[in-house]
């Protein structure tokens, strides 16, 4: 890479994001963010069951949307974005831009953390190679799409998760726990990496620090949730129901379980909603992801038992990244609902591990399949719903009318199966690499 070439690429990545930021969004998620920002800024809780359309903001894609199913951090940010927008005489596009500003900055910061991990602890020698690897995350079309087109903020919890990894390797254990706690405060998903961190610390520093790490990582999001709940007088039960009900969603998203929607579309009389619901609510199906995570943790534990020396930081980084990858893959392969943005958590770990050519290939296939799925699930023009509601209406018609709906559900299922297959291949590649390492 030429001198300052990386600077131009970063600038290009930022410009692409800024270009999409103020007029695109996911018709459900982004519309929810737009309304929640308005209502929280006006004193409501971010997790109520219903938010009506706000005249002049977003579009009336749904008469009502339910609140955000996260801890309050994102709701508070949305409210601040609305307050800032309110103080300037700009159009709502400015508000949409502000909502996406944090995820875009999250992309940039995550890229920098990836770079720091590679520079400080990686086994890559060439500087240009290090820059290229970290930029491959920043310029990945799927990453660009999630933050600047969809408007989803997973890059923020991802940033804090990777920062906690960097801090743990830099021997700042408690700051690492604090960082992971902040990640959980934005979205609960980083909690799946906590057992990996605990196993690592227990091995390195013993049980006392492990317990402290656990307490900090859990108390930080708990306290930070409690403070606004008490300060603003939000209703706890409604908050909790919205957050917890995220576990209720069944058989949809980027997972083979989405055959559920296909079967219902093809033969609604045989595959009745109640029948499928009773299948997906059965404990072993609903909580299959616990088994998936257990498999991930056990794979990591076995690897850690075999390869650890206490001094080689490159080896430590690789082990932790493999642990993170095992947990993510175990989760993505077993949960009954996988939103596309969860794939983001797998990408940085695979990038850093992708000195191996075959893993590089899987990295490309994984993000390409996730992006294709996103565009089949919600046709690309629907993301322009903020410009004209007819984009949404047209999508809605196509998505619910046969034979278009059947074709869409079938394609979604095929992509999800392929995605699962490549996740398994990546998992087996990583495990085989483990065996070689031993």
């Amino acid at each position: 890479m030429k001198k300052h070439g990386w600077f131009k690429l970063v600038a290009a990545g930022l410009l692409i994001r800024l270009f999409f930021s103020f007029w695109t969004g996911n018709p459900h998620d982004f519309e929810t963010f737009v309304r929640v920002g308005y209502f929280v800024a006006n004193g409501a809780s971010p997790v109520l069951s219903k938010y009506p359309y706000v005249e002049g903001l977003g579009q009336p894609t749904y008469p009502y949307v339910s609140g955000i199913g996260y801890l309050p951090a994102w709701g508070l940010y949305l409210a601040s974005a609305f307050k800032i927008y309110e103080t300037f005489p700009f159009s709502p596009c400015f508000y949409y831009f502000l909502i996406k500003l944090l995820p875009i900055l999250g992309d940039l910061a995550t890229t920098y953390i990836i770079y720091l991990l590679i520079v400080n602890f990686g086994d890559v020698v060439k500087k240009t190679e290090k820059e290229k690897m970290s930029l491959s995350f920043f310029l990945c079309p799927f990453v660009v799409f999630i933050s600047s087109v969809w408007g989803m903020f997973d890059s923020i919890p991802l940033l804090f998760t990777l920062l906690s990894l960097l801090l743990i390797l830099s021997n700042r254990t408690y700051w690492s726990a604090f960082s992971l706690g902040l990640g959980i405060y934005f979205k609960v998903i980083p909690i799946i990496y906590l057992p990996i961190q605990l196993l690592f610390i227990n091995r390195k520093r013993g049980p006392k620090e492990t317990i402290m790490y656990l307490l900090i990582a859990l108390i930080v999001p708990f306290l930070l949730t409690l403070i606004p709940v008490i300060f603003y007088g939000w209703t706890i039960s409604e908050t909790a129901v919205t957050v917890l009900s995220q576990t209720q969603t069944t058989g949809d998203g980027l997972i083979y379980w989405n055959i559920n929607a296909f079967l219902r579309d093809v033969s609604p009389n045989v595959f009745r909603q109640e029948l499928l619901n009773s299948f997906f609510t059965f404990p072993l199906v609903r909580y299959l992801w616990i088994l998936g995570l257990m498999a991930g943790y056990i794979s990591y534990y076995k690897y850690q038992q075999r390869v650890f020396t206490n001094f080689d930081q490159t080896e430590n980084l690789n082990a932790m990244l493999k642990g993170f990858s095992f947990a993510t893959i175990g989760f993505l392969l077993t949960r009954t609902f996988i939103p596309e943005q969860f794939v983001l958590y797998l990408l940085p770990t695979i990038i850093i591990l992708s000195t191996n050519k075959s893993i590089q290939r899987y990295y490309k296939l994984i993000w390409a399949l996730a992006l294709t799925f996103a565009f089949v699930n919600l046709y690309p023009f629907a993301f322009a719903y903020l410009l004209n509601i007819n984009f949404w209406t047209a999508f809605n018609y196509l998505a619910t009318t046969q034979p278009f709906s059947t074709l869409r559900y079938a394609t979604r299922f095929i992509i999800a199966v392929l995605f699962g297959y490549y996740l398994l291949k990546t998992f087996s590649k990583l495990v085989r690499n483990n065996e070689k390492a031993v």
Partner: protein, 504 residues
């Protein structure tokens, strides 16, 4: 190549699956315990309450199997004990089958006995609702008094939705109607009507033009020719009901326009929905404050101090009320109605026995003189519900050849009756699954009772005595099995043993 299911033969994989299933069970128990506590009830979302009975049975069977499997694994791996299966002889097999049948029937019988002996079949409560005509006492704060002559308990329940208010509406002036997305002009309306109970009611109707996803509304706006001056305790009293829409999109609002000291108009909107959700927000220029209240599909009563609301919403002092607006709306494929029994701007809040009322059916503790003192509204009739004390309660058990019965009988004496108008006599009871037969005043009402936890039944208001009998019966079949099977088995064994001995 290993077969995929070979992985299940692996000891570690088996432990992994066992721990997974037991973790889910522990999780389920913890969730169930936590949701017993009122403030943590929301955790029930994570539990398995929605499982069907079959799924529940399969799940619990699976857990029991897992526990047995864990015991087997631990015996084998930790204590080096192994169970060696050997084939059973016919005699042993026969004995085992009898033993299993006996254990199952004994367990079922014991359980049935336990339930029959301990669980009450019904906890009936008899209530009478009477209309009382109030009298008035003029003093500094004009009060309405109601004397309850024939009430024995110290608590009564009032029903504001069935009471008659002397002056339910503050504003009777003509207003202007406007509408959007309605079927035709006149289909949606604002009317003041008299109900069958003699209550003056505002009825609002929105009849949409049938378009889905598009929200329509009907509004009726009244500008006051003589603005109402504000006073410190000025209170809005709203007693209302909204009929649920087919798609949860129904709403209505009651808007009050107020002038501040600089003659700027601010508005307070009480917006009611048919689905849950409570929050407060403002419009963009901060001149309208919305109080959004959900789940108003049954009669609800609210009262708000206007001065306080105005000050907290706009940090200003209100001077006059200049207008009110009634609006009803929903997605245009709905035809919905809303009713106001009270839409009153009162100089004082509604207080009963000096307690501010927040519910449409408040429970009032009576003082020794059995007088209810009402401030804030004038009443024509007040509906009061009180419990009739139970005169007799008996629980008997009866043994018959093929069954064991539990009989609960109750009797209430309605007495001479009161001079006040008797509106309704209602019995409320919990129907348990064990209740097989219900007899009310010699009439078998079993077929009328559907499966529900609490059941209400309206009775004849002229009755002087009410009797209620609940019966439950279990088949004696299991008892026969429990008693007879071991005896038959014993005799069979003796005969078999002796025959062999004699033949030898």
């Amino acid at each position: 190549m290993k077969k995929p299911f070979n992985i299940l033969k692996d000891k570690r994989t088996q432990y992994c699956v066992i721990i997974w299933i037991l973790l889910i069970k522990i999780f389920e128990i913890a969730i169930s315990l936590m949701s017993e506590i009122e403030s943590l009830r929301f955790f029930a979302v994570l539990g398995f309450e929605s499982l069907s009975p079959v799924a529940n049975l399969v799940w619990n069977g699976l857990v029991i199997f897992t526990v047995l499997w864990l015991i087997y694994r631990l015996l084998k791996d930790m204590f080096k004990l192994s169970i060696i299966w050997r084939p059973l002889s016919r005699k042993e097999l026969f004995g085992l089958v009898i033993l299993v049948i006996w254990v199952i029937s004994a367990a079922i019988t014991a359980l049935q006995f336990a339930i029959l002996a301990t669980v009450p079949l019904a906890n009936p409560k008899l209530e009478v609702s009477r209309y009382y005509t109030p009298f008035y006492m003029e003093s500094n704060d004009s009060s309405t008094l109601v004397m309850l002559n024939d009430v024995e308990e110290n608590k009564v329940t009032l029903d504001l939705s069935r009471s008659v208010f002397a002056d339910p509406l503050s504003i009777y002036e003509m207003g202007q109607a406007s509408e959007y997305g309605t079927k035709y002009v006149g289909a949606s309306y604002f009317n003041v009507e008299n109900s069958s109970l003699g209550q003056k009611t505002i009825e609002l109707r929105f009849c949409g033009n049938g378009t889905d996803q598009i929200e329509g509304w009907f509004a009726y706006r009244i500008r006051l020719e003589n603005p109402i001056p504000m006073s410190e305790n000025l209170t809005v009293l709203l007693l209302l009901k909204l009929i649920q829409s087919s798609d949860s999109s129904a709403w209505m609002w009651y808007k009050i326009d107020l002038l501040n000291e600089e003659n700027f108009t601010y508005s307070i909107v009480f917006k009611f929905h048919d689905v849950p959700g409570n929050y407060v927000c403002k419009n963009e220029d901060g001149t309208i404050s919305y109080y959004l209240i959900g789940s108003v599909v049954n009669w609800k009563f609210y009262q708000f101090n206007l001065n306080n609301l105005f000050s907290t919403s706009f940090s200003q002092k209100p001077c006059y009320i200049t207008g009110v607006e009634y609006v009803i709306g929903a997605e245009s494929d709905n035809d919905i109605k809303a009713c106001f029994l009270l839409a009153k701007i009162s100089p004082n809040p509604l207080e009963i026995n000096d307690v501010e009322i927040k519910d449409v059916r408040p429970t009032i503790t009576l003082e020794c003189d059995n007088v209810i003192k009402i401030k804030g509204v004038h009443l024509g009739k007040l509906l009061v519900t009180s419990s009739v004390p139970l005169e007799k309660e008996n629980v008997n058990f009866q043994l018959a050849l093929l069954g064991i019965s539990r009989i609960e009988s109750y009797r209430w004496n309605m007495g001479e009756g009161s001079n006040e108008t008797l509106h309704k006599v209602q019995m409320t009871f919990d129907v348990t699954r064990q209740a097989k037969r219900l007899i009310l005043d010699s009439n078998d009402i079993t077929s009328q009772i559907q499966e529900s936890t609490v059941y209400s039944l309206d009775l004849d208001t002229s009755s002087e005595e009410v009797t209620f009998v609940v019966m439950s019966e279990i088949d004696a079949y299991f008892v026969a099995v429990v008693i007879l099977v071991p005896i038959i088995a014993f005799f069979a064994y003796v005969v078999f043993y002796l025959t062999r001995r004699i033949l030898k």
